[in-house]
Every structure is written in C-alpha cells, then in structure tokens.
C-alpha cells in the first residue's frame, strides 16, 4: 500500500462504518439490523488492519483478526440466536421516532460529531485522526438507537453500535489501548451481550414478548 492510497482506504472503511450505523436506523426488521451490525464489524476490523499495515505493526493486524472474529462473528451470532427463538417478533413495530425523523437525526448527530471532535483532531492532525468524527458519529447514533427503540434486541444492537464506535475511536486516536485493558474490555463486552441474551429469553418466557413497553411493573406511584 502506498502512502497516497492509505488515507483513501481508511476513508473508505470509515465510510462503510458510518453507513452501516445509519442503515441500522433505517431498517426496522431485526434480521437486517443484525446483518448490518456484522458488516460494521468487518469495517471496524478493516480500519484496524489498514492502520496495522500502514504502521507495519503485526500486533495491530492480529488484533484486527481478533476484532473480526468477535464483532463480525460471535456478537452478531449471539444476537441472531436470540432472534431465532422468536421469528414472529422479528420487527420493530412501533419505533418511538419514525424512519424519516431518525435519518434526519442521524445527519444532525454526524454534524454534531464533527463539531465536538475538533479539539481531538487539533491535538494530532493525521489521516487517522481525521476520521475520528465518523467514529464519534457512530457512538452518537448508537446511543440514539438505544434510547428510541422498544424491542429488547434492537437495544442490544444499539449498545453494540455504541461500543463499535468507541473501539474505532480507541484505534484511530491511539492505535489501541494496552493489551490487558483491550482484552478485559472485549471479555466484559462479550459477557454483557451473553447476559442480555439470557435476560431476553427470560423476558420472553415471563412477559410473552420482548416489547419493552411491557416493562411497567416498577414505578414510583
């Protein structure tokens, strides 16, 4: 890879990364949402691999392989299994905010991401940090998905978007955290998704659905 093409490859992978996040907001069926999440995992691994090739770092390339297995393989597969048990509920029926408004919100959040990341880019301008706003936009879109969706599984997808975005920020800004922290974080993330998968199953057997509007037992009055 020559140095002229390096920023372009990076931009391409980052573009795919953002596009899949917007795609999750656009689709309401749960199955395509999970598929998009898998593609986003590939894009994330590609970003790390491109950084690794550019810096001639074998460690980063190995981390990229690990990320691809976890984010594009294991985590979407876990979400898929939680979905497989209830094909009848494969749709986000009544999102709090409709599709058009969600997409506009995604555009606004992307602009916001460019505004808030200016001090981050200014600290160390480089092709990698120039992509930081895209990763921050994915974090914001993930948070937006988490708060506006009602199905248990789409909240899990929103949480994973949020986490993919933060992982991208970590690699773009600093080429990754110390290995022990990185391993601990990945392990925690895997366990959180496992816990949420088990809880989704229990919610379904207890409440008969995973519509979170059913969760109204606990309130103050």
């Amino acid at each position: 890879m020559t140095d002229i093409s390096y920023p372009q490859y990076l931009d391409l992978a980052a573009g795919l990364f953002l596009l899949t996040a917007v795609g999750v907001l656009w689709r309401h069926q749960l199955a395509p949402m999970i598929r998009l999440l898998g593609i986003q995992g590939v894009a994330l691994a590609a970003i790390v691999a491109i950084l690794g090739i550019h810096q001639h770092s074998l460690e980063l390339i190995l981390v990229a392989v690990g990320l691809a297995v976890l984010r594009a393989g294991v985590l979407p597969l876990l979400a898929w299994r939680a979905l497989g048990e209830a094909p009848a509920q494969a749709r986000e029926t009544r999102p709090v905010i409709n599709t058009a408004a969600s997409l506009l919100a995604a555009a606004a959040l992307t602009l916001l991401a460019y505004a808030v990341t200016r001090p981050l880019v200014a600290l160390a301008p480089s092709p990698a940090t120039a992509v930081l706003p895209v990763a921050v936009a994915v974090v914001l879109i993930g948070f937006f998905t988490l708060v506006t969706r009602r199905r248990a599984l789409s909240q899990v997808v929103g949480f994973l978007l949020l986490d993919n975005g933060i992982t991208a920020i970590a690699f773009l800004a600093t080429s990754g955290l110390p290995l022990i922290v990185e391993l601990g974080v990945s392990f925690d993330l895997l366990l959180v998704v496992l816990v949420l998968q088990v809880l989704t199953g229990r919610l379904r057997t207890t409440f008969g659905s995973t519509d979170l509007d059913e969760l109204q037992e606990l309130h103050d009055q």
Binding site: L120, Q155, D163, V181, L199, L218, Q221
Partner: protein, 494 residues
Amino acid sequence: MTSILLLLAPIGLPLAAALVYAVRGWHARTTAWVGVATTVLLAGDAVGLAATVTTGGPVQTGGGLIRADALSAWMLLGIATVALLACWASPAYLATDHTSTRRARWYGILLHLFIAAMATAVLAGNLGVLWVAIEATTIVTAFLVGHHRTRPALEAAWKYVVICSAAIVIAFLGLVLLYYAARHAGLDGQQALDWAALTGHAHQLDPAVTRIAVGLAVIGFGAKAGLIPLHAWLPDAHSQAPAPVSALMSGVLLPVAFYAVLRVKAVADPALGAGYLRILLVILALATLALAALLLIGQHDYKRMLAYSSMEHMGLIALAAAIGTRLAIAALLLQMAGHGLAKTVAFLSSGHILHRHVSSKIVDVRALAGRMPLLAGLFGLAIAALLGFPPAAIFASELGIARAGATAGLTWVTAAGFILALAAFAAIITHTGRMLLGPPHAPTTEDRSDPPAAFTIATAMPLIAGLLGVAALGITLGPAAGLLQSAASIVGAP
C-alpha cells in the same frame, strides 16, 4: 513479600469462596459459612493493608497494575466490613426465602465474584483495569438482581444491565480520550492509564481533550454511583435484589463507582484547575438531591425509600467532592463508611420486614414496634443513623461537609444541598414513623399459610454489629484517623 500477599489476597479470597460454591454448592450447615470465613480474612487483610500504607506509603505489584494507597485501603476496609455483614446475614436470608439449592449455589458464586470485582476496582493501579472491574460488577450482579425471577425482578435486571452498561461505556470513551491526551503528553502505553503517572503528569495533558475526557468519565462513573442523569436503574435494582445484595450494592458498590470519580478528579484538577469539575459535580449533586427528595416525599414503598435515600447520600458525597478541600474529602470518606454500614443494616432489616409482610408497601406495615420490637428497633436505629442522628458517623461527616462548604466559599450551594437533604430527612422520618408506630390494623402475617420464622437474636447479630460499627465510627476513628487523613490528602486540595 507480605505487601504482595496483602494486595493479592483481597481478590483471591472471594474468588476462592466462589470456587467453593461452584464445586460444592450451598449447604446450610457447611459451605454457607465459607463466605463468612473468607470475608473475615478479607477484613483482616484490609486492616493489615491499611496499617502498611499508613506507615510505609503506597505499595504495588505486577508493574503497578495492582496498587494500594491510603484511599484504596480505606475503600477496601469499607468493602470488607459490608461484605462480612452481608455474608453473615445471607444464610438466614436464603433459609427464610426457601431458596432452591441450585439458586443458592448461583447466589454464592455470584455474590463472591461481586466482592472480588469490587476489591479489584479499588486495588487497580490502572484506570483501564478499574473500568473493567466496575463493568464486571454489573455483569455479576445482573442475575443477583433478577434472583427472584418475578416480572418486577426481571424488569429491574434488564434496566440495570442496559443503563449501567451504556453509562459505563461512556466512561470508557472518556478513558480512551484521556489515554489519547496522555500519549501526546509523552507517557508510554503502560503509564498512560496509570493513575499515579497520570496525576504526576497532569499539567502536561492537552486541556481541550482532557476536558471532554473528564466530563465523559464523570458522567459515566457517576451513573453507576447513582447520580443524575442515568440514575433510573437504581431504585428498581436496589428494591428487587435480595436484601444482602441490596446492602452490598447500596453500601459499597455506589461508593466504589464514586471512587473512580475521585481518581479521575485527582487527574483533572491539576490539569484543568479545580473550577471545571467543581461546576459539573455541583450540578450533578444538587440535581440528584432534588430528585431524591422529591421522590422520597411521595414514596409508597419502603425498599424504594431506602434506594432513594442512597441517592440522597451520593448527592451529598458528590457535593463534598465538588467542595474538594481536605476536610471535605475526609468528611466524604467518613460519609461513605457510615452510610455503607447504616444502609446495610437498613436493607437487611427491610428484608426481614418484607418476609413477614409479603408486601413492600409502607401502608401494609403498621405498628411494627409493638409487634416485633427487636426488628423494629434495629430498622428504626438504622434509619436514625442514616438521617445523621448522633452518635452515628453520618452526624460527624455531614457536619464536616457543611463546614468545609462554608470555608471554601460555597456557602449557598452547600445550604441548598442541605435544605434538599432536610426535605428528604422529613419524608423518611414520616414514612418510618408510620411503619414503626401507627395504629395497628389486621395483621397480614396471619393470612399466610406458613408462619414466618421467628426473628431471633442470632439472626439479628449482623445487624447489631453493623449498628455498633456505625456508632463507634461516629465516636472515634481510633487508629484509622491517620489513614483517613492521608486518604483525604490524596484527592483533597490543601
């Protein structure tokens, strides 16, 4: 060599206990007491570690990955004491609850993993490891919150995991940005999340990036400590979890999360000046106090009342952190300890009250003082300690926070905080009065097919011990005074 053992034992002992429960299961006569034995050892270890750091300064092992200074030792003492009371009360709780052997085994495993995760959090020398440990507490307590498998318990567990994980991920983003700033300030990869190295090089950090990083970290860890805006999980989780788990979550998990805020503050203040975090913490503290007071006034459920009282105490603790002088930090740490002990007794006794009345509604519990004087007395004394009646430690610590606020030029803010706390005080005293005194009406206990087990002195022992502890702390700190002073000087401005 001894210091390495003292540093590793607090993590190893609870892990060993969890392993025992995984292999042997929970048996009322034998393994049920393994947890008590390991937490007694844990408490002994915490005392040893406190003595070591008071005389010899910070100790560390594993290249700084595990480190303890006076602040860590103080937190570990709190964890060990509350864990001891919670483990001591667990056999009686599980017996009255008719827990199946399988669930009791999981209870034992998860409870001790929870203790191990909290010990790791306060002994971590690296903010990244601290983060991993705090997230681990969410994972292991998720099924403890959902232990009863009822609809409300599952709902509470779901909200707990989703809100806390999202919040703590925000804190992680803050740590990533802090690492970014630290790398560009010349720290190498191993040092850039090490809180000792970060505090030492704080003035070299890029202020613009550090400002974003610190804000995100405080909001994220603050959510886990029960501060606004991501507090919604707290009343649900604390009211649905089994009583000993509620005691641990409220008494020590909230302070452990706030400990993370203190470590971030120690980096932020030299890098950004004290003003930035002070404004942020004052806003969080007053908003949390106002919400807690408001929801306490109209409260109908006594377990939720205890949960909102925890939010009120965390609000005062955040206020003390905003004041930030040594006196304020010392009062904050004393408040953590006093609240931890008193809230443990309150939650444990509320568990026994719930068992005897089936309902957790305040209206369903009447004239408890006449029917069950021992239980009512313990609950009433725990509430009195929480409200800050002397000789409880909270009396001394709240006085300290008020004085520190006045001398630091934050008189109006402190006054506003204490007016809100006073509203909460009035609400709690009214609700508790209704439960303990009030006119007796048809006792609900007679509706039950199986009469509840008697509340004996043996069952009451952990509660009595907790109350004696909180009173003793309020009267004298004894040898711990030196530890508290050096812990306060780590974070507090002179």
